[in-house]
């Protein structure tokens, strides 16, 4: 951190409102001491000079003009002050509050708060970009496990890159929270790009309910994502596999009784009882256990109803049969006795798989996600615990990362959704089994609070809705309230990154994507104009076409005589 000319920012006035704040005074002639900017002061610690970094939280005019001086827009208050004997060039004096982050301890790899504010009168320095780049980011650019997300918002692009720690993200999860149109899918695209760069070669699955990640396909051809072989690693070119909606299948035998109950809603107690009984009997049969069909289930229910006390279950069984047939026999698009997505097809190091779910209804989307998450979790669990698979799935011998778009749809607050339970389990235990989850949501208020708080890294973009702001404030402990106050003011592409993957919460400008962005809003007026022109042109052509003469009495069309 040494070797760069130290730039004085101001002089300490004294402690601030809270124990970790202090106030300094500056004339800020270059106008660089912005909100969110970084400064430092020196302390002596163990016979060493440590640079304690602090972030500017408030900036107030220490010499404010009386309101009357501001009453004439044509007259600068500085001029009036100058007439009254106050030198114009000394007009601006700012009282700046800064929150102490601490000095960065290389050994600990974290900021250590010294609990000593700077002494009144001591100098405060402007933190240079090189110092910040080193202190704020966990990793160096292009290191294994690094992800260059963007640059420090208060600095020029490229001056202070923010490199987040992918190791943390893939083990302790990440949440991307933002209002619609604030760039969350763009940021997710940047994250995926970083995961697919040669220094990460990740195994990624994107659960994409809107089918907007297809542009990632182009990254296989881009030079930025390729690497030649060297002494340590083989040559690399990422793969992107975008599954077709028809390929998204769930093998019936991977469903559990809970999934069935969820897929067959509004069942009576009796129906549930008979379903459970029939299901249990059917899966106890080794012949059917791994390969049952909807008809097998119906048959098993029919065979196991009635029984000992001679009660008449015919109508209940009939209703149940009808429900099962409607979901699993007639509708074979999603559920299949044999076919399903092979985990080894979806998850491969250096492959980004996209699972488009936009052709499925809500419940099917949730069940597809739940079964897949459950299978992947078990495959990782077995691989780590070195157990053999028993359910027909192969183990996954490498960590995996799953990015879930519209996460509030799979883990909603105040609703019992089948995918919520497995998601909670993965978020709680995924670290042990090398399974990372990325949640993307535009409605944090509608996202389960436990799920949100389990994501140890948060990327929070502009949020205007007050309910969503409160949800973020309640579940995201690592971001200070003063940073969260910026939420409505953030522009598109500006993000607060906090939590495990960065050394301290930072305001970051998301970098440009290498691949094209697929989630951009549709330009409706332009589309209307183009469609309208196309329609009127077609109508005009139709109107101008020479009408064919009617058929004769025999019903035969005559050939129009050539003029």
């Amino acid at each position: 951190m040494n070797g760069v000319a130290q730039k004085l920012a101001g002089t300490t006035k004294g402690p601030g409102d809270t124990p970790h704040e202090f106030i300094f005074i500056s004339t800020d002639p270059e106008n660089i001491l912005k909100h969110g900017e970084y400064v430092w002061y020196a302390i002596e610690k163990n016979a060493k000079t440590q640079k304690v970094i602090a972030r500017i939280t408030e900036r107030a005019d220490a010499h404010g003009y009386p309101d009357t001086f501001l009453s004439d827009p044509l007259i600068a208050p500085q001029d009036i002050a100058a007439i009254m004997g106050y030198p114009r060039e000394q007009s601006n004096i700012y009282e700046i509050s800064a929150a102490i982050m601490g000095y960065f301890d290389m050994d600990v790899g974290a900021f250590i708060n010294p609990w000593i504010p700077p002494l009144p009168g001591s100098p405060v320095y402007f933190a240079d970009s090189a110092m910040l780049a080193e202190a704020l980011s966990r990793k160096k650019q292009n290191d294994i496990g690094s992800a260059w997300i963007g640059d420090l918002l208060t600095r020029d692009p490229g001056d202070a890159p923010i490199i987040i720690d992918m190791t943390e993200i893939t083990s302790s999860h990440i949440a991307v929270i933002a209002s619609t149109g604030s760039g969350k899918s763009y940021l997710a695209g940047v994250l995926i790009e970083e995961l697919m760069r040669p220094y990460n070669r990740a195994s990624v699955l994107i659960i994409d309910p809107h089918g907007e990640y297809s542009t990632l396909q182009e990254l296989t051809d881009l030079q930025e994502f390729r690497a030649g072989a060297d002494s340590q690693r083989t040559a690399y070119q990422p793969e992107v596999r975008i599954f077709k909606p028809a390929e998204v299948k769930v093998r019936l035998s991977t469903l559990e009784i809970g999934d069935l109950r969820y897929l067959l809603p509004d069942m009576t107690e009796k129906q549930q009882y008979l379903l459970e009984k029939g299901f249990k009997k059917m899966t106890a049969d080794p012949r059917l256990k791994k390969k049952w069909t909807g008809k097998d289930l119906i048959q098993s229910i029919a065979e196991n109803s009635g029984g000992d006390n001679e009660r008449d279950d015919t109508s209940t069984v009939g209703a149940l049969e009808w429900k099962i047939a409607a979901r699993f026999v007639d509708n074979t698009m999603t559920f299949d006795p044999v076919d399903h997505l092979d985990l080894r097809d979806i998850f491969k190091p250096g492959q980004c798989s996209v699972l488009p779910l936009h052709e499925l209804d809500d419940r099917n989307q949730q069940v597809v996600a739940a079964t897949l998450l459950r299978r992947a979790f078990r495959a990782r669990e077995r691989a780590v615990q070195k157990k053999e698979p028993t359910d027909g799935d192969q183990n996954l011998d490498y960590p995996i990362f799953i990015l879930i778009e519209e996460a509030h749809h799979f883990a909603p607050a105040n609703a019992d959704v089948i995918s919520l339970r497995i998601l909670k389990q993965i978020l709680a235990e995924g670290r042990k089994f090398g399974m990372g989850i990325g949640l993307i949501s535009q409605r944090p208020g509608k996202l389960d609070a436990d799920v949100l708080s389990q994501c140890q890294t948060q990327c929070i973009m502009r949020i205007v809705n007050e309910m969503d702001q409160n949800a973020v404030a309640a579940s995201v402990e690592s971001v200070g309230h003063e940073l969260l106050r910026n939420l409505p003011a953030l522009s598109k592409g500006q993000v607060i990154i906090s939590g495990a993957a960065v050394n301290t919460p930072v305001l970051c400008r998301v970098r440009r994507r290498i691949t094209k962005h697929g989630g951009a809003s549709i330009d409706a007026p332009r589309n209307w104009v183009e469609s309208f022109s196309a329609r009127t042109a077609a109508e005009q052509r139709r109107n101008e076409a020479i009408s064919a003469p009617p058929p004769n009495s025999m019903g035969i069309y005559r050939k129009r005589p050539t003029p």
Binding site: T68, S71, L74, A82, G85, R88
Partner: protein
């Protein structure tokens, strides 16, 4: 009140310093009819007028510049409640003339700076020849007090060598007047703005804002 009302005997003193309360607050006694050939016109020592006071012992011809912010009457017969020989001033002139000669008008002057003068009696030009605010030197008892002419007032406030962006009008002493604990000083400040406004037409908007600021503090804030 306009400046034209001040047209009087240029160069004639109106009184002498008799006392000071501090480095910047002086009392001057206005000449009575026995001390001057022509009686002093009350316009020349009106409230809010600029005055200059000579520094007799300073080599460089320099005057203290002040503003009249207060006045006081001295009357030795005040409180003498016993029987008198004379009933009015015409009789007093015969029976007890000292009663009349000991009456006096005192004016309170607040010092707001100093200004150099050339040998021809004109104020020196340029900002170096003047200082605004508390003056460096005190005047002595007996120093003569002169009313300031329009051109002297202009010279005192006009800093011709100011930079292009900075205003050439300087009223640096205004805050000193407004912060002193005398209720009449803001009133005097308003009077001096009356005099400066026609002199500096380019700064009328600025002066209007300053006036508004004083007026607000004077009239509205006490009522809140």
């Amino acid at each position: 009140m306009t400046l034209n009302n001040f047209a009087g005997a240029y160069g004639n003193p109106v009184g002498v310093i008799v006392k000071s309360d501090s480095h910047i607050r002086y009392w001057a006694q206005i000449y009575n009819e026995n001390e001057t050939i022509a009686p002093v016109d009350p316009q020349e020592y009106a409230f809010g007028r600029y005055v200059r006071v000579e520094y007799p012992n300073i080599a460089q011809p320099r005057h203290l510049i002040g503003v009249i912010y207060d006045s006081m009457l001295l009357n030795p017969s005040f409180g003498a409640l016993g029987p008198r020989l004379a009933a009015d001033d015409s009789q007093r002139a015969i029976f007890s003339p000292d009663y009349l000669s000991e009456r006096a008008v005192l004016i309170g002057i607040i010092a707001i700076g100093s200004m150099e003068y050339l040998a021809n009696g004109e104020p020196a030009s340029g900002s170096r020849g003047k200082e605004q605010g508390a003056p460096s030197f005190a005047v002595e008892a007996g120093a003569k007090v002169y009313p300031l002419t329009e051109s002297e007032i202009y010279a005192f406030h006009f800093y011709e060598d100011s930079s292009e962006t900075a205003p050439a009008l300087h009223i640096s002493y205004l805050s000193q007047m407004l912060s002193a604990p005398f209720s009449l000083l803001p009133q005097a400040a308003l009077r001096i703005l009356d005099q400066l406004e026609p002199m500096f037409p380019g700064y009328q908007r600025h002066l209007k804002i300053i006036r508004r600021n004083i007026l607000w503090k004077q009239s509205i804030e006490p009522a809140r």
